[in-house]
Structures are given as C-alpha cells and as structure tokens.
C-alpha cells in the first residue's frame, strides 16, 4: 500500500509505509484526526463526522464518531507496531460552513445544528486528553472547508483551502 489514499466521510485508514499520504478532501464540519508514531512511521487518519457514538445505531461504524474512532485508530496502530506513549495527534476541520445571520440557537434549532463543527472539535480534544495523546497541531474552526494531506514520511499535515491558502502543521 503506497501513494495517495483517500479517507472518505466516516472512515479511517491506517498505514505503516512512509511512502503513503493519507488525505481527506473537503472537510467542513467534519474533523480530520491524524495520529502519528514518529519512531516507526505508523500513521492513521480518521474523517470524523459526529462527536459521540452514544446514540449511534448498531452495528457501530466506529470511524464516524470522535469517541469511538480515536481508540480504534490507536488499537490498529499498535497492531502495526506503533508505540502508544510516542504518538502525537494533529486535528483539522470543524468549521461552521453556513452563515445564518443572527441565529445562535438552542438545542434542536437550526443554529445549534450549524455548530456541529465546534462540538466535533471539542469531542476530539476531550477524547485525546482522556487517552493521554499529545495534541501537536491544530487548524480548526472558522467558516471554510479544508483538504488535508498527511505524509507518513515525516508526520506533516498539509492543510489547503479555497480562500486561506496552504498551511503546514
């Protein structure tokens, strides 16, 4: 497995080949979670859609939810030789894509739904904290979409967007 591997909505991919680049295209309110073990260059990327699997239907698609995707990534990475205490995470996305002037809503209202990006970022961060994974880089929030390319050669995450250029984490 080498080259560019696309990680679709609600999916995660793990690789232990430094030739591989894992990518998420067009992240809006979703969050791309990249976890990397620098010693043996094992990396995982998840395209997380929702904060928690607490209300999810069965069978559970773990990669869709922040709180189930991250433990699953770590487990798969360890099986490929990653060392848990060395891994670091970089997170990108969680934007609020649509503007609705003057509406910051209560639960169940349009405004609240538009905030799912922020809730995703919070859930990703609290899951990383709970699992004692160091957050090494972040480009989250705002009102714009992002594409990320996560290079397993050095763990760098390249963030590109339509209006805000390219950024390296």
């Amino acid at each position: 497995m080498e080259g560019l591997i696309q990680v679709g909505l609600g999916e995660l991919r793990v690789a232990a080949n430094s030739e591989v680049i894992l990518a998420c295209y067009g992240l809006g309110s979703c969050v791309g979670v990249a976890i990397y073990c620098p010693v043996n260059r094992v990396g995982a990327l998840a395209h997380v859609m929702l904060p928690t699997c607490a209300l999810a239907h069965q069978p559970l698609k773990k990669a869709k939810y922040a709180d189930s995707a991250i433990p699953d990534m770590l487990e798969q990475m360890e099986r490929m030789g990653a060392q848990r205490r060395l891994v670091v995470a970089k997170i990108v996305g969680g934007a609020r894509m649509f503007s609705m002037p003057g509406r910051r809503g209560r639960e169940g209202e349009m405004g609240y739904r538009l905030q799912v990006g922020e809730r995703n970022v919070e859930a990703v961060k609290s899951t990383l904290k709970r699992l004692k994974i160091n957050l090494a880089g972040e480009d989250t929030g705002g009102d714009y979409g992002r594409t990320i390319r996560f290079a397993l050669s050095d763990g760098s995450v390249l963030v590109s967007s339509v209006r805000h250029g390219v950024k390296k984490l």
């Binding site: 909505l9 295209y25 067009g26 309110s29 649509f98 349009m110």
Partner: protein, 200 residues
C-alpha cells in the same frame, strides 16, 4: 436506509423531482430571462461519501444554498452551483456587480435564487402530494463541495450510512451555467411521501 426502495417507488420519487424541478426552472427562467433545460432527475440511495460526487467531487468549488424543510414532510434542500456558474448567474442578474469576488449583494442575490428555486420546487411537491412542505430561511456557503455538503450528511448520517437523494441538474441554454437542486427527504418522512404518491 432501513429498507430498500422498490424501482416503482424510486420512479415515483424521480417523477416528483421532475415536477418540482420543472416548476423551479420556470421561476429561474423568468428571473434571468433565459431558457432553462432540466435533465432527467435521479432518485438514488447513496453511501454518504459519494454524495459530493453529484457536484463533481469533494474539492469542486461551489456555491451552496441550504434550507431545511418542515411541515408534514421534513427534509433538506440544497442548491449547488459550480463557482463559474454562480458568477455567470450574478453577471446576468446584476450586470454592474464585480464578479472576481462575491460581494454582499451577489451573495444575497444567490441566496434569493436559492430561495426562489427551492420555494417553487417545494410548492410543486405540495400541489402534487397535498402535503405541506415549508422551507426555512436559506443559509449560504461558497467552498469545496465536500465541505458544503458535509453538514447535511452529518445530520443524516447520525441515523444511517446511506441517504436518499433526489437530484436534478439544470442548464441555461446557450450559457455556461449549470446547477444542481438536491432534495434529501428525512427517512421518517419517506413513508408519508410514498403514501401520497400512491406507491407505499
């Protein structure tokens, strides 16, 4: 989806989409004084990550106008315009307006287009089914298609790994303008719609 739809049911949804889009095209046509071509709609059950392919892939830059539908039928509607089409449309409606960047006026113009198109689409569906479908205030975004669509998929994806989409592509005859009108009925409203279309 909990249960797959039969070919007859998908046909009925496609036809409903056709009637909605036909009405929307008439409204747009009188707005921009140009002839609109409406393609045969698609009614599809798609895995979440394929939905952005309807707009040319997740990185295609689009203008999206998003509305929620409530009433006897709940769902979501999205107007997706590839960026060059959106700029061309603005150029036709507001010839004085610069198009290198979307001005506030251009944004509200496109929001209005979205509002009128989805409004007439839903109106036609109301007449067809006898059910009420009320649109919300439109929300606006200009960005990569994947990012514009993912909010809707996040909402629908909470309950499912696949979504039902009724998509219609339209073109402005002789002009480089095309767009997509997409209706995402909620899974819970599907039975109601199918019942009123006589294909339950």
């Amino acid at each position: 989806m909990e249960e797959k739809l039969t070919p007859l049911q998908l046909d009925a949804l496609r036809e409903a989409g056709n009637i909605g889009a036909g009405n929307a095209a008439m409204a747009l046509s009188s707005m921009v004084k140009a002839k609109i071509m409406v393609h045969v709609p698609k009614a599809l059950i798609l895995p979440l990550d394929l939905v952005s392919e309807l707009a040319g892939g997740p990185e295609t830059v689009v203008v999206g106008v998003y509305l929620r539908v409530s009433g006897e039928v709940n769902g979501r509607m999205l107007l997706l315009l590839p960026e060059p089409s959106a700029l061309q449309l603005i150029n036709m409606m507001l010839p004085e307006e610069p198009t290198e960047q979307l001005s506030e006026l251009a944004r509200s113009g496109l929001q209005e287009v979205g509002s009128i198109l989805t409004g007439s689409y839903l109106n036609a569906l109301e007449n067809l089914t006898g059910l009420t479908l009320r649109p919300s205030v439109p929300a606006f975004a200009r960005d990569m298609a994947g990012a514009v669509i993912d909010l809707i998929l996040v909402e629908l994806g909470e309950a499912d790994d696949e979504v039902l989409v009724i998509e219609t592509t339209f073109d402005l005859a002789g002009l480089a303008v095309s767009g997509h009108l997409v209706f995402f009925p909620d899974a819970g409203s599907l039975d109601t719609i199918l019942g009123h279309l006589g294909v339950k």
